[in-house]
Amino acid sequence: MASSHGTPPVFNNKVIAWIDHRLPIFSYLEKEYHTFPTPRNFNYFWNFGAIATVMLVLMIATGVVLATNYQPNVLMAFDSVERIDRDVPQGWLIRDLHMNGASFFFIAVYIHIFRGMYYGSYKAPRELLWILGVVIFLLLMATAFMGYVLPWGQMSFWGATVITNLFSAIPVVGQSVVDWLWGGFAVENPTLNRFFAFHYLLPFIIVAVVALHVVALHVHGSNNPLGIDPKGPQDTVPFHPYYTMKDGFGVMIFLIIYAGFVFFAPDYLGHPDNYIPANPLVTPDHIVPEWYFLPFYAILRAIPDKLGGVLAMFGAIGVLFVLPWLDTSRVRSCTFRPIYKWFMYLLVIDVVILGICGANPPEGWYVPLAQLATLYYFFHFLILLPILGKIERPLPLPPSIADAVLKQKAG
């Protein structure tokens, strides 16, 4: 089944040829995942798309199996999770994989997002590809939030209460919206029941959007660390085996770190309070969301106004949708943007600072720090990016990918 760019594949296996003549799945795989011309200069940051895909599959597989034993009822949910942990054969393994898998899915996705930002992967003609990615990110956050409610521990319950109450900030109809979300007048059994239903549904919608994301990706192909388009076959390699093998290796390294948490510190990323069954009458001293929401949680608290905080939090994600048009620079990769590069590092550090602020109680110097970090976050996207693109003088771009690769080898 060997073939090179451009020529249609010929399948020697009769069964495959028969099927492919009627349903061209093999031609499709051949074209999109085998001969697909891919820039030859990816670094390891380009592994995280594949890694995120592996995590998505793993989360769905473990989730479906967990759902066969989980009970979405306030009287039984906590105990049913513990039953999975204690009595179901290897239930602890599936649960620890799922519980830590959420965190590692987010790690992969965050690195994937920052990679896209650093190398300008959102710029023309990949704006829709980027927007689909932000949609996936939003769906992922919704899924993770509802999933965290299901064990029905104290953090589940109070997290659900606090986050759903965000919508009460909406003028006039806020409380009606919240009651509608809850299916009652507080987070109660109907809430848990529907969260379970949607937690099961959304991942499959994510799969669909991921498919669109990949379709969009394969129209113009991947961006690359240089941010310049491939000019011919000398700039590309076939996706398989070059990047299947490189992705495979990256996935293995990622899985080793993930396994380290799953098997040797399964509760490290969780919170002890979630092993206390939900109690609607007692709020824990200090409510924190899961770590992957902390930067946004910090932005929410940084604004001393209920509606303002909610708007800022949603705005922090909303701004990502228009990122392709906020960035006025015609150079994609930060490699050739001597000034913006430093602001990009600053953005990474800023988001981490926001995360630390979100993890700590809003008191002392965490308050001004969170406000400063929030200010920078919006300054970066709304003011810096549009202006800097106009005034920054980029470094000269190399004539081609091959040229740059060869020069690097020589140097």
């Binding site: 597989a61 199996v65 066969t68 034993n69 393994l93």
Partner: protein
């Protein structure tokens, strides 16, 4: 997608590479199989279910001629204290008359090979299509052979729980059981 059979066009050492590919592919396949197991195993009966897989029943309150029904593994378990007359009838049936030939003695032997003809312990599920036969409670029809009668499709069982007439193919099932004393029987 990642099949290890890759054309070696233009690469430096195709033999070494092919070997590496095959080794990696095989190891990955082993890993995939090992990963599949917890997912399959997860659906097996859990420890709390298994803990209820055996029940201990005190049979001393059951009078001669009476029967009780006990829940065992989600199914009715019939325990009948048979009369001498019932035992005699069951014993007297020639095996040639039976659809599913079993001696009465073989159906009242516990795991320790001790025969207790007065105690008949069976799963109360008709071997035809899974209905619960009548005849275990006083006043219920026992059918033409004085044992049990399935109201769904008319199968009739004798005083040893063996199928005598009707569509059921097999005798009522005898579960593994053990008398841990003269009055306590452990089923399952």
């Amino acid at each position: 997608m990642a099949t290890p059979s890759i054309p070696a066009g233009g690469h430096s050492d195709p033999t070494r590479r092919d070997f590496l590919m095959v080794a990696t592919g095989s190891l990955a396949a082993v890993g995939a199989a090992a990963t599949a197991w917890p997912f399959i195993n997860n659906l097996n009966p859990a420890a709390d279910t298994l803990a209820l897989a055996s029940v201990e029943v005190n049979v001393s309150p059951i009078q001669v001629g009476q029967a009780i029904t006990v829940n065992w593994r989600g199914q009715p378990l019939f325990i009948r204290h048979r009369t001498a007359q019932e035992i005699k009838e069951a014993d007297a049936v020639p095996l040639s008359e039976l659809r599913d030939p079993q001696t009465d003695n073989s159906r009242v032997t516990d795991l320790a090979k001790k025969v207790r003809p007065e105690w008949l312990i069976m799963v109360g599920v008709c071997t035809h299509l899974g209905c619960v036969p009548l005849g275990n409670k006083p006043g219920q029809p026992k059918g033409p052979y004085g044992g049990w009668f399935c109201p769904c499709h008319g199968s009739a069982y004798d005083t040893s729980g063996r199928i005598r007439v009707g569509p059921a193919p097999k005798n009522l099932v005898i579960p593994p059981y053990l008398f841990t004393s003269d009055t306590i029987v452990k089923v399952g």
